[in-house]
């Protein structure tokens, strides 16, 4: 199956475009595999470490959806960096509807 395009904007301003991101994996796994700066994913996608924190672009927020309670609790651990469009991208599973998804990587601690 053809992958989708996702764009992650790093803290240095560089937009990392990944053209063939696989459907069904998380945005964290894609970002980490591509070495996107700031996407660490220490806990491996378990929603427990907040090292894959991104801000979802306004136009994509509705399609991506809000965090669930477990994710909200983990985001609260980095409340100094949290915004209304914060997500942990290990919890964003790529689907065909997310083709073109654009996010900005949250700053490091």
């Amino acid at each position: 199956m053809r992958g989708i395009r996702v764009v992650l904007i790093q803290n240095d301003g560089v937009a990392r475009t990944i053209d063939n991101a696989a459907i069904g994996v998380s945005l964290m796994e894609v970002g980490r595999a591509e070495g996107v700066d700031g996407i660490l994913g220490d806990c491996g996608g378990g929603c427990s470490c907040a090292t894959c924190h991104v801000y979802v672009d306004a136009e994509w927020q509705q399609r991506v959806g809000p965090p669930d309670d477990v994710e909200i609790a983990t985001l609260d651990m980095v409340s100094h960096l949290q915004q209304s469009n914060s997500r942990l991208c290990c919890q964003i599973v790529l689907t065909p509807e997310l083709d073109g998804l654009k996010v900005t990587v949250a700053p490091a601690e």
């Binding site: 806990c43 996608g45 427990s48 470490c49 477990v70 994710e71 609790a73 601690e109």
Partner: protein, 434 residues
């Protein structure tokens, strides 16, 4: 309870003793280490502890630098140099003779070998899966608390560590692994024996005792594995025995034994320490007990309470690494093969990161920034499970018990003799039922 008292922080306190005369291998310093940590952070952040023969990494930023670069700062070699220190060959021979083999810890390998195994374990304790375990964990904890409350109501002193924290965490991890019949006291002795291997404080006689305990543990694990080889069950030991990894390979027998051993030990020992610390803090810091009481029905505040407890008193305080090349760290040029002890507890106490670090402050904006679970590729895989156990313990203790007090003067509280953890040995308590 807030951190807006800049300049009025309770001081961790410089000791009068010069840095060169202190060592973490001194049990007195090990029990009350914060002045030593602070002196290092201020005077000599990457400090050579002569008696220990290790470089102590004390500042938050340097700790993160080390943990984010696992190829320069090798966990595998640091651990190997620490393990059964001084007696390794004899220890290994005993395990090979009586314990089914010597099985190096797969979780303490370096990337890329580590990555293969780590990906498997990542799936075991996700925050979402652990959330589904909350009712079961609550049942275990409330049963234990009710037993203790009955005991205390009869005027008996209760040991918060050995009567509560340790049986609690052992019950939880055994349920997860699928160990239905277990002897809590035995698992406690196995845990002490394994953790002593990285504590740097065992003499030969203790090593022989500990090696015998670890043989017993490994023989137990091997029997549990064999029982599941042909008849898998719905439990984690079966999952590991039959697991297929991302690269299509299977775990070797040695890897599986080492992982189950690690899950049994790491799955109970450090969380039990945290729950012991919880009770100690409630008995000795009334402002924390009040804060917990006020937070008990607020999920967000309860999560924050757990993080702050882990920051202010992390169970794991020092784990070893070894440099694989010459490298500068914190202004110090370290040679290749320098043996480091990463002081997580000092990082959590670093005043450049945490305002008034000795204050227990639920409102810290960077409350999750502590390094109690580590950072990077070796970050604690059981963090969510540990948090859940501590949270439920805190909630149910405060709902069910009142007037928690030490039954002995605070000076009589003893800590395990080890550089790796700061862990209360016995915690005599009195309390009433709420």
């Amino acid at each position: 309870m807030d951190s807006k008292q800049a300049g009025h922080c309770p001081v961790t306190g410089h000791g009068q003793t010069p840095l060169a005369d202190m060592t973490l291998s001194n049990p007195k310093i090990g029990a009350q280490p914060n002045a030593y940590y602070q002196a290092m952070r201020v005077e000599d952040p990457v400090h050579y502890d002569e008696k220990l023969g290790m470089w102590l990494v004390s500042r938050y930023d340097d700790i993160v630098t080390v943990l984010r670069d696992p190829l320069t700062y090798s966990d595998k070699h640091g651990y190997a140099a620490q393990y059964a220190s001084g007696f390794f060959q004899e220890f290994k021979a005993i395990l090979e003779r009586d314990g089914g083999g010597f099985f190096p810890d797969a979780i303490k390998d370096d990337p890329p070998a580590h990555t293969r195994v780590r990906r498997l374990l990542d799936k075991a304790f996700t925050a979402h899966r652990v959330a589904t375990l909350e009712p079961g964990i609550t049942a275990i904890i409330t049963r234990l608390i009710e037993q203790l409350a009955d005991k205390a109501a009869n005027g008996q002193v209760v040991d918060g560590v050995n009567d509560f924290a340790i049986p609690l965490t052992i019950s939880v991890i055994c349920e997860q692994l699928g160990i239905s019949q277990f002897n809590s006291g035995k698992i406690q002795r196995w845990s002490s024996a394994v953790t002593a291997q990285i504590g740097r404080m065992q003499n030969r006689e203790q090593m022989l005792d500990n090696a015998a305990q670890i043989c017993d543990l490994q023989n137990f694990i091997i029997a549990e594995m064999k029982a599941r080889e042909t008849e898998p069950r719905e439990d984690m030991i079966s999952d590991l025995v039959h697991a297929t990894l991302d690269d299509g390979s299977k775990l070797t027998f040695a890897e599986a034994v080492s992982l189950i051993r690690a899950l049994i030990i790491a799955g109970n020992d450090t969380t039990a320490t945290a729950i012991g610390n919880l009770l100690f803090v409630l008995a000795t810091r009334p402002e924390v007990a009040t804060a917990l009481q006020a937070s008990v029905d607020d999920e967000r505040l309860m999560n924050r309470f757990v993080e702050e407890l882990l920051r202010i008193e992390p169970p794991v305080r020092g784990l070893a690494k070894m440099t694989t090349r010459e490298i500068e760290l914190g202004g110090r040029l370290l040679p290749k093969d320098a043996h480091l002890l990463v002081l997580y507890a000092s990082g959590n106490d670093d005043e450049t990161q945490f305002t008034c670090p000795r204050n227990f402050d639920l409102n810290r904006s960077n409350i999750g920034k502590h390094v109690a679970f580590g950072v990077g590729v070796h970050r604690c895989v059981g963090a969510s499970l540990s948090r859940m156990e501590i949270k439920v313990a805190a909630r149910e203790v405060v709902r069910r018990l009142a007037d928690i007090k030490l039954a002995v003067p605070v000076e009589q509280i003893r800590y395990q003799p080890t550089v790796a953890v700061r862990s209360i040995e016995r915690l005599p308590l009195t309390f009433t039922r709420r």
